[in-house]
């Protein structure tokens, strides 16, 4: 038996590897964006791609997000598979019109004749001490746009697998990269990356019986930590990593909630109009008779993302998650 060296790798490295492997496997895969070529991206996620595949395959574009995504649309129309990097969450907004008015609709508009296999990679979320405009959680905007897939990994292995799946998808994917997990490490073998399930499947990260924490992206580690801490209180929490916000995996989520009878949705994005509202509604509609308590949300406050010295008050942390769990009407039980 041969043992494979399984070394710790970062999420950023896994993402780079995913693009590299996709480009090697398929000459139609092109990476484009700001600083993605010579520099390798401000987070170095495209490091080495221009060198290995040339500047025509990994291109430093002029600085204009609508132009980048608009050009990607035309490239996809001609049979290429563009992978666009938006430099930061808040700097993807200039591309919003292209995303909403064209990227999301072209397949539908042409009755399937003109699909657009475009992956839009966006580093998102806070917790890295970024100054204004560098920490937004913009997933609700994308979720509200039919025709897009919205995917976000929380582990190193998923970062690789989901990005490969996204690039291979014939639909446009908004691929949200939790930037504070870029440097998170995990043992992972880049030579034998595990197969990741198709886009749209949530995964149970931790099994438990008392209540379900429904979360994704940067809040997954927070919830896992909260679940560990909750043991001291006598709660055995299940943690679901959604991985894909669109399509939404009602099945996995509801199967869990029906078992536990209690649920808290956790995310950084604002609560009002945020993903948690949709998720809570879906769970309530489908699992009402199994619920022992209302579905609660732990989210970022309803305010513009705070300056870095105040962000820790805004971000949902372990304590706030545990406080929510405590409010799940356990009285009847005890």
């Amino acid at each position: 038996m041969t043992t494979v060296a399984v070394k710790p790798a970062t999420m950023a490295q896994a993402l780079t590897r995913a693009m590299r492997d996709a480009m090697a496997a398929d000459p139609s895969v092109h990476v484009l964006g700001e600083d993605v070529g010579t520099l390798g991206g401000v987070f170095r996620v495209t490091d080495g791609l221009a060198k290995e595949f040339g500047e025509d395959r990994c291109t430093d574009t002029p600085l204009a997000e609508a132009g980048i995504l608009g050009a990607a649309v035309g490239m996809a129309m001609y049979g290429l598979r563009p992978v666009v990097e938006m430099q930061f969450d808040a700097f993807a907004y200039p591309a919003f019109e292209q995303l909403v008015s064209h990227v999301s609709r072209m397949r539908n508009r042409t009755r399937g004749k003109m699909p657009l296999p475009i992956t839009v990679r966006i580093p998102y979320g806070g917790g890295i001490g970024g100054v204004e405009h560098h920490s937004d959680s913009s997933e609700a905007y994308y979720m509200a746009t039919p025709g897009l897939h919205v995917v976000t990994p929380a582990t190193v292995a998923d970062a690789y697998g989901l990005l490969r799946r996204s690039i291979a998808s014939d639909d446009p994917v908004v691929f949200l990269e939790p930037k504070r997990l870029y440097w998170s490490k995990d043992t992972w073998n880049p030579e034998q990356p595990a197969e990741v399930e198709p886009i749209g499947r949530a995964v149970v990260r931790r099994t438990g019986r008392s209540a379900t924490l429904i979360t994704y992206g940067p809040s997954v580690p927070v919830c896992l930590e909260a679940a560990e801490a909750a043991r001291a209180e006598g709660w055995d929490l299940e943690v679901i990593d959604l991985r894909s916000l669109v399509p939404f995996d009602d099945e996995t989520v509801c199967a869990s909630v029906r078992r536990t009878g209690r649920a808290v949705v956790v995310h950084e994005s604002t609560g009002f109009g945020g993903p948690g509202g949709e998720i809570a509604a879906r769970v309530t509609e489908r699992c009402f008779h199994h619920l022992e308590a209302p579905v609660l949300r732990v989210a970022g406050f309803d305010l513009p993302y705070p300056p870095p010295m105040l962000e820790r008050h805004h971000l949902p942390g372990v304590d706030r998650v545990l406080d929510a769990v405590a409010r799940l009407q356990w009285e009847a039980e005890r």
Binding site: A66, E97, Q98, H102, K113, M114, D171
Partner: protein, 384 residues
């Protein structure tokens, strides 16, 4: 010795250059719109080309009047007519080779049809039964684009991709004068120039964006001058002179195909009809102005040239008109049939694979439709 230690290091001098100096003069458009009809150049034009353009113009005009009539009869939800702009529409289609791509705006149905798309399929957007009724790949025509100027970066990306693949394909993108104020116009031109993409941008300057005149849209010497700032040539042409537009477009297409990069063309024209059937043009422009432009009608200009030079006799003219009438009659007959609608279509092309959520919603609509068929009494009963 470092640079800073050299004598005279701090003497005032031009800053180090970031790019080689470029002479902007060759990029500048002519002071006046380029014309052929009514000039000596007209005599040199190929008679066959003139007749071909003319036949298309007559058909195009008839198409516009027929589509407008269909709108009045309720067969189209809306029609942005290109009456008065037919020279641009027709020349855009004819300047391209089979393998090239056309990127039209909502006003360019005529160019789409002149390129070979079925007239009824080209009108589904405006009839309202489906957004894009034609297969874009069949004639290499992108969907009619409504959000202003957003189709321009698509043309750039497609042309860029074609060049990367080694295909000598050119993309022609159409936009209005109002659309030149949009950010996507700027971004598309900049990308095209930086990438030297084989794209031709055709601006139909009809003087108005709905009600807003050009003077409120730009302070540039002309829209064609904008090209210079991006490092591409700008051309100014009489948009009602089909021969001139065809020639200028042809030059730009050839240059793009040969690797010479993009061109911005401003065609000066006029929209004779209101913005759409829903618009009241008398609120922002006077009859006198419309009359001035009617005297510069693209169909008449070319027809005069042809008849005066004896290139088109009465019989030939009659044949052209009959051909246009036949096209209109066919369009009328087919548009007077109700389109076939399948509500289930709504769910089929949102994603490659219909999601569980959409499958549920499709079932809901299917049940609603079934109940509708069973009649209201049945529905009452079901609910009880």
């Amino acid at each position: 010795m470092t640079v800073l230690e050299q004598r005279g290091a701090y003497r005032p001098s031009p800053p180090p250059a970031w790019q080689p100096r470029m002479d902007p003069a060759p990029l500048l458009p002519d002071a006046e719109p380029y014309r052929v009809l009514g000039t000596e150049a007209a005599a040199k034009a190929d008679p066959d080309l003139l007749r071909r353009l003319h036949a298309h113009l007559v058909r195009g005009r008839r198409y516009n009047t027929q589509a407008t009539a269909l709108t009045k009869q309720g067969r189209l939800a809306v029609y942005p007519s290109s009456t008065g702009q037919e020279a641009c529409e027709v020349a855009a289609a004819l300047a391209l080779e089979e393998r090239d791509w056309l990127f039209p705006s909502y006003r360019d149905t005529l160019a789409v049809v002149a390129r070979g798309v079925d007239p009824v399929e080209a009108l589904t957007l405006l009839r309202g039964d489906w957004h894009t009724g034609y297969d874009p790949y069949a004639h290499r025509v992108a969907p009619l684009s409504t959000p202003l100027a957003t189709q321009l970066p698509h043309a750039v990306g497609l042309a860029h991709a074609a060049r990367l693949k080694g295909d000598d394909v050119v993309a022609l993108a159409m936009v209005g004068d109002g659309g030149t104020s949009e950010g996507d116009f700027h971004e598309a031109l900049n990308f095209a120039a930086v990438w030297r993409a084989p794209v031709v941008f055709l601006v139909q300057n009809n003087g108005f964006a709905i009600s807003v005149p050009l003077a409120k849209q730009t302070a540039a010497p002309s829209l064609a001058h904008k090209a210079v700032g991006y490092g591409m040539p700008g051309r100014l042409v009489d948009g009602n002179d089909a021969v001139a537009v065809h020639e200028v477009l042809g030059d730009a297409v050839r240059q793009a195909r040969a690797g010479g990069g993009p061109t911005l063309i401003e065609a000066v024209t006029y929209r004779i009809d209101a913005h759409t059937n829903a618009d009241d043009a008398t609120r922002y422009r006077g009859d006198a102005e419309v009359e001035t432009w009617r005297a510069h009608d693209p169909v008449r200009l070319l027809e005069t040239e042809l008849t005066e030079r004896g290139l088109l006799d009465e019989a030939a003219l009659e044949a052209v008109r009959e051909d246009a009438e036949a096209m209109a009659a066919d369009l009328r007959a087919r548009m007077n049939q109700d389109p076939e609608l399948d509500p289930m279509d709504l769910f089929d092309h949102v994603y490659a694979e219909t999601t569980a959520q959409l499958r549920e919603q499709r079932d809901l609509l299917r049940a609603e439709l079934a109940a509708e068929q069973d009649g209201p009494d049945q529905q009452e009963g079901d609910r009880r």
